[in-house]
């Protein structure tokens, strides 16, 4: 047990690097929340624009969605940070990570919202129109409230998965949780800071993972015994 405790749970080193790593934890949460806000709002807006069925916008959105849904997150982060400066666009590590993750979530959210809008039965549109509502009132008052309810479970899972990508910011030296832990580990020549970071990731994500399990249970393919 000696080497395990000294290496992974060294109290002296943990005490020394605790403040720095906690700072990284807050930055991780900040990036995560910004990513979710950006991704969900952009996704909803793009799905609404798609509902207008205006062809040029449709094509542009499809291209955006396909690019950011297909490319690995790390490739996008690295591209924004290391390639864009050649086009005279110098992004900070924070901006590169948040924009990349936000764009990826936006792409998935657009797809999910758009599918959810289509999943609302055509009869809802017809009924609302026969009551004299215009296109936008039907969309915003009748269809979207139902579509958002359909979208929430899938969106939650996707948002949690993409939020875990905040750790990728370490590749562009964003001083978030993992990055702080890695530099502390290099300086102290001891992996205890990494243990601490791992524990903090669990503190953040275990409740989310359990919540997503619960959401899956109430909305996924229904277990047979409940049907």
């Amino acid at each position: 047990m000696g080497p395990l405790l000294d290496n992974f749970f060294n109290p002296q080193i943990l005490a020394q690097y605790w403040p720095s790593i906690l700072g990284g934890f807050w930055l991780t949460i900040e990036v995560a929340l910004l990513t979710i806000a950006m991704g969900v709002v952009t996704g909803l807006v793009l799905a609404i624009v798609r509902a207008l069925k205006w062809r040029p916008a449709d094509i542009a959105i499809t291209v955006f969605v396909d690019i950011f849904r297909t490319l690995p997150q790390l490739v996008i982060i690295v591209f924004l940070y290391f390639a864009l400066p050649y086009a005279d666009i110098q992004l900070s590590p924070f901006a590169a990570t948040t924009l990349a993750l936000g764009a990826v979530l936006a792409a998935f959210a657009t797809e999910i919202f758009w599918a959810a809008i289509q999943a609302v039965p055509q009869g809802q549109w017809d009924a609302a129109r026969s009551l004299g509502l215009g296109f936008f009132r039907i969309l915003f008052l009748v269809v979207l409230p139902q579509a958002i309810r359909i979208a929430v479970p899938l969106l939650t899972n996707r948002a949690i998965a993409i939020t875990k990508g905040t750790a990728l910011g370490t590749a562009v030296s964003l001083p978030e949780l993992l990055g702080r832990a890695q530099s502390a580990m290099a300086i102290a020549a001891n992996p205890s800071p990494l243990t601490l970071a791992a524990a903090l990731y669990l503190v953040f994500f275990v409740p989310l993972v359990i919540a997503s399990r619960w959401i899956e249970r109430t909305s996924g393919p229904a277990p047979a015994h409940r049907r």
């Binding site: 080497p3 395990l4 290496n7 992974f8 396909d66 690019i67 849904r69 297909t70 490319l71 690995p72 997150q73 790390l74 490739v75 690295v78 591209f79 290391f82 390639a83 864009l84 050649y86 086009a87 797809e111 999910i112 599918a115 959810a116 289509q118 999943a119 039965p121 359909i150 899938l154 875990k164 990508g165 750790a167 990728l168 370490t170 590749a171 993992l178 890695q182 580990m185 001891n190 992996p191 990494l194 243990t195 970071a197 791992a198 990731y201 669990l202 994500f205 275990v206 989310l208 993972v209 359990i210 399990r213 899956e216 996924g220 393919p221 229904a222 277990p223 047979a224 015994h225 049907r227």
Partner: protein, 227 residues
Amino acid sequence: MDALKLFLDNFADWDSLVRIWPLLWQGLQLTVLLAVVTVPIAVAAGLLIAVVYSFHHKWTNVALLVWIDLFRSFPVLVLLILIFYGLPFLGVKLPSFAACVLALVLNYSGYYGEIFRAGIESVPLGQREAALAMGLRPLQAIFLVILPQAISRVLAPLASNSLELVKTTSIAALVALPELLRSARVAQEQTYNPTPLTAAAILFFVLLWPFARWVAKLERDMIVRRQ
């Protein structure tokens, strides 16, 4: 026109591309190899988890859920860093390829396990009872009767999870495994322009786009059908 020329010289410089192509080609092969090795292992591990779970032994199931949620809660990069930089302090030094496979399998087998489990639970209990009454053994009942029905019900999340797994192999770049992204970064240090990164992004896109389209279609159908 000047701007366009500047852009092309920087981001799509043909001479640079020809020079660094062998490096990128090797990187692409390693990316494919990593995917081809990791996906089957993770699928098999997930299937094992779900099959063991379906026997409904109380304590094994509690243990399995803890295992799944624990490894799903870590960002996979954190697992990779723990394995690659942390374990050597305990005298366990894995080569970067093995470390990547292990990190990806630990993380993604949890997701696969959850997906298969939901699929198995969506098949009515009567199917199992009927299979057992016909004289099939419990394992035969699962593999010959339950799983074929289960998999067709969860095909969309299965495919989506596999796509995410293949995309995530790019984190291997952060432990110096020369897959496609890493190769592009190395090449960029030789060309001093972002052409290698552009080329790598395009290669990733070409490799993954057909699969991403198929996954998107499966997910859309699932959302629309479920309503």
